[in-house]
Symmetry: C2
Subunit: 202 residues, 2 copies
């Protein structure tokens, strides 16, 4: 991984976190193995959740073993995503519950916890040498209807997974993004020393 893809930090962070990013260049010819898919799901499964509710659900679309499902999931993506996801051997959908299992009351942490499970999955992808890229640009209503997702579950993201590919295969508009310096807002914008009026200084 080139140095330009590493996170720019005021204090070191673990390389698994520093090196994870969201590439679009995916090798069209290398499938993700069953063992790798299971490993991704296991990483999500062990995320923390409020009351241990584990409100996350993941739907797996493996092009190698279930190409029709893959095609129907792919069809739920917006055009801008289809332009590069067409090379991805694996698609996942991350879905969040609405109510706690233990008391059937609304779970206001369901989406928050599902986000934790999904990023754990993406970190595991990175650990396996795979790329994983989450997308919000998809038709969740169509996805739910196509795959019988119950009404009380909310589709949050689709995730494209595969082996790193050649950026030259990307549409020109996306090729530049692939090598651009990764950016975040400064730490003092997202962190505060106690009160909101006091930016955190590293």
């Amino acid at each position: 991984m080139s140095s330009s893809r590493q996170a720019d930090v005021a204090e070191p962070i673990h390389e698994l976190i520093a090196n994870r990013w969201s590439p679009r260049a995916i090798d069209p010819d290398r499938p993700v193995t069953r063992a790798q898919i299971t490993s991704l799901l296991e990483a999500a499964r062990w995320a923390p959740s409020c009351f241990g509710d584990e409100p996350w659900r993941f739907l797996v679309y493996d092009r190698a073993s279930a190409s029709e499902d893959w095609e129907r999931a792919f069809a739920c993506l917006v055009e801008g995503n289809q332009a590069w996801v067409k090379n991805a051997p694996l698609l996942l959908a991350a879905v969040a519950g609405a109510r706690f299992r233990h008391n059937d009351k609304p779970n206001r942490w369901a989406q928050y916890d599902t986000g934790a499970a999904s990023v754990s999955l993406c970190l595991q992808a990175s650990a396996l040498g795979l790329v994983a890229h989450q997308m919000g640009g998809f038709d969740g209503v169509r996805l739910a209807k196509t795959f019988d997702i119950p009404e009380e579950y909310t589709p949050m993201a689709m995730i494209a997974v595969g082996h790193p590919g050649d950026p030259q295969l990307l549409p020109e508009a996306l090729r530049e993004k692939e090598s651009a310096q990764r950016q975040r807002q400064p730490l003092e914008v997202i962190a505060f020393a106690g009160r909101w009026s006091a930016p955190y200084r590293a």
Copy 2:
């Protein structure tokens, strides 16, 4: 870390993910250093987010440098959490935005993305040999009022951080949880092969 604390998985996952858990036993005498706090925040900062919005915000309550703020944050926790958080040198609050920066429209991924940032922070804590434990049991209205959190931001979690402590210091009811086998629902409950009616089999 004892083997009973490691995740039970059908396929291996990265040790950083496998070993993270949510202990309650925290050493009351070892502060978290400024560099460590910055490292935790950096890990959160580099999480992925929809449209790169980075909707997460973190408030830092460091007992060593700002004991009054720490006390006021601690007072927002429910009693059951106070019983063990009293030993934590560091408290954090994770807060989610509501609208995208780029177009001011509602961001339906704000809480999902904030969950990703928070678990990244917890994974980094684990990488530093610290313990981090997220809590939903706190008074978010009181927290927002006390620390001037703007109305459009939603407090999602408070996070207790510190060095591992002696479980014997915990109230008896919590001591057992500290050494109990970690549990998750089976993989086939949270993952599906395409449609909802098809449990994923590892």
